[in-house]
Assembly symmetry: C2
Homo-oligomer: 373 residues x 2
């Protein structure tokens, strides 16, 4: 396919130089394929090798259909045009950022999902999702390697008076070797997302499977749970307090995991990481509970300052990352200060990505080999 | 709440007898609550204690909004009426059947999902879902009891040249007692559904947790995988052949499960069951492979005849069920014939339900205690 793309690009350059194709639509390479996160059997939405997305939505009697995705990811939108067959069609005005994007469709003023796409929980609703193939997508691809499991658990939570859901990634071989014990990473989603995000949008289980198959990491468990409690209303973070979730995580979930899974149940073998709001949570909880976690990671979710940390000897790793389209200088400055203060501190900047999941997939891939060394 | 309902019914009868409330809308009891399978924080769709459903969809510029659900479950539809605030509203013309229903919304001729409801895979698409509280809903409720896990596995399938997904229910305690081995039920979804159906729509993990907590069953594993292979096109069953799926199930999935989970890996401790199309598959595969399964169950998915079975000594249980609104006489006739022929045969008819998930939840609850005795 790369070969094909190069040939077509070359053909475009030639034709452009002869003035054959001056109109802007001809610059779009017609190698569109269904997005890899479409519903089964659905042709649309489609993406091409340049990163354009094309939509097709049936709504014969509608007055207007607008897709929330436009140029460069989440910004802007794409207004579709109705065909005589009742389908609304349109293509983004330019190439979108590589990776996963949330979107929705506004039909006559109402917000719906694209019937062609799978849904993912983001922005406190199940949104449509689309994948723009990334040049480095191999690291999160489903491959013919041994696969770990993603286990849904329901753990009792006295503090919130309910059974709460979490997902636990157990590496390949977990069920076979009945004595081996594993370190554990507690991994949090972002605002408006939930405990499904890291495996559905983040593909973290596939990234782990691939890293393990390549011998690049020491296998560990990953625990992903919902990072909000009842006091947080949907729609805002203004009243956010860390204590209720900290209680769920530290006093309820960790003991349940240590009792029901084969863990190395100590501070040295326990890490916490989170993206965006999950980074805020990680920052607060790791600082509040230095006796619980030894490895800390913030993915597009703030920074650490040396003066925030009470007992330097307890911190084995500080990892801070973001996309190059976010604020990489803040990440670099923070990590330099942490290094200068003598911490094992690592920064990572994801090239050409913003506050979206490709940043966090890549960040996770960089983080995983550094954990529990 | 029951108290409240009775009071309101009584008030209605009184007012009706005085001629105060003759218009039909007054017969609807105004105790609507959000459906239990709404998206987080969403008020609509709502259901009342009589089984009416009420919808509210924002689409200010639309010409028409119709919900596919009407009286008695999937039949008919409900046309919504636009309010001045741009929301379309409407209530079903009568009480719907108890239990879970799929539905969607037609907006100006296009099919979308209700933004208020969670989605469930049915009819080869992710559909909106709604729960009409059933009088016996307690058996599938999330309770404060020990919970089993639902594990997503990806198993290698040579015959279809991919990694296929399945879900494995492991009972509470599976992770703690590291030596105990369990019988296994292979449980199939219906046409247009997939391997997510039995836990999402069927709540089979919660039914198991509750039956185990009550000491009513011997714990077993449940394996749920996708029952279609590539040769089946979306939209029809005309070209259905059992062999490709039988190969996946018997030659690929079962060995993987027996190798990766603590199973009693023999015919006596292996059951197969399925709903609707999954019943057809169960019927074919159990008859083709008597050396693999000993317990057979068809849930709204056909019947067995004594003359179909090659070796009677290998069959430990035949269970056949359906809803009373399906064809219960066929089920009863079949089971009578099986009993007359000397089989351990059991029928079950779910009262006042059709070809829908409450029939199958109830059928499963009746089946589970009969397995592996």
């Amino acid at each position: 396919m790369k070969q094909h793309t190069i040939v077509m690009l070359w053909a475009f350059i030639l034709s452009a130089s002869t003035g054959f194709s001056q109109a802007s639509p001809t610059s779009i390479i017609e190698d569109f394929k269904p997005s890899t996160v479409n519903q089964p059997g659905q042709e649309y939405p489609k993406v091409n090798s340049q990163g354009y997305a094309r939509f097709q939505i049936l709504a014969p009697e509608a007055k207007s259909v607008v897709v929330s995705l436009g140029l460069g990811g989440a910004k802007g939108g794409t207004t579709l045009v109705k065909g005589e067959d009742g389908y609304w069609r349109g293509t983004t005005a330019g190439a979108m950022d590589e990776g996963f994007h949330y979107y929705h469709v506004t039909v006559d003023g109402g917000i719906f999902n694209d019937p062609g796409a799978l849904n993912f929980y983001g922005s406190t609703r199940w949104e449509s999702g689309i994948e723009i193939p990334a040049h480095d997508q191999d690291f999160y691809a489903l491959k013919n390697v041994p696969h770990g499991n993603v286990q849904q658990i329901l753990f009792p939570s006295k503090s919130t008076n309910t059974s709460r859901r979490a997902f636990v990634y157990t590496p390949p071989g977990y069920h076979k070797d009945k004595t081996k014990q594993y370190p554990v990473l507690y991994l949090q989603h972002g605002w408006g997302e939930d405990e499904t995000a890291w495996s559905n949008q983040g593909r973290v289980n596939l990234i782990m499977d691939n890293l393990i198959a390549e011998g690049k990491i020491k296998p560990f468990l990953i625990v992903m749970t919902y990072g909000m409690t009842n006091e947080i209303k949907f729609g805002g973070l203004a009243s956010f307090k860390i204590e209720p979730f900290q209680t769920v995580l530290v006093d309820e979930l960790i003991p349940y995991i240590d009792s029901n899974f084969r863990t190395l149940a100590n501070q040295a073998n326990r890490a916490m990481a989170g993206l965006s709001m999950g980074g805020m949570e990680t920052h607060s909880i790791t600082l509040n509970k230095p006796e619980v976690f030894s490895h800390y990671a913030l993915l597009s979710g703030g920074i650490y300052k040396p003066e925030e940390i009470k007992d330097k000897s307890k911190v084995k790793l500080v990892f801070v990352s973001c996309g190059s389209k976010e604020r990489p200088e803040a990440v670099e400055t923070s990590i330099k200060a942490m290094k200068d203060a003598g911490y094992n501190a690592v920064s990572y900047i994801s090239e050409n990505t913003a506050h979206e999941f490709l940043t966090w997939r890549r960040s996770f891939k960089e983080l995983a080999p550094l954990l529990f060394k």
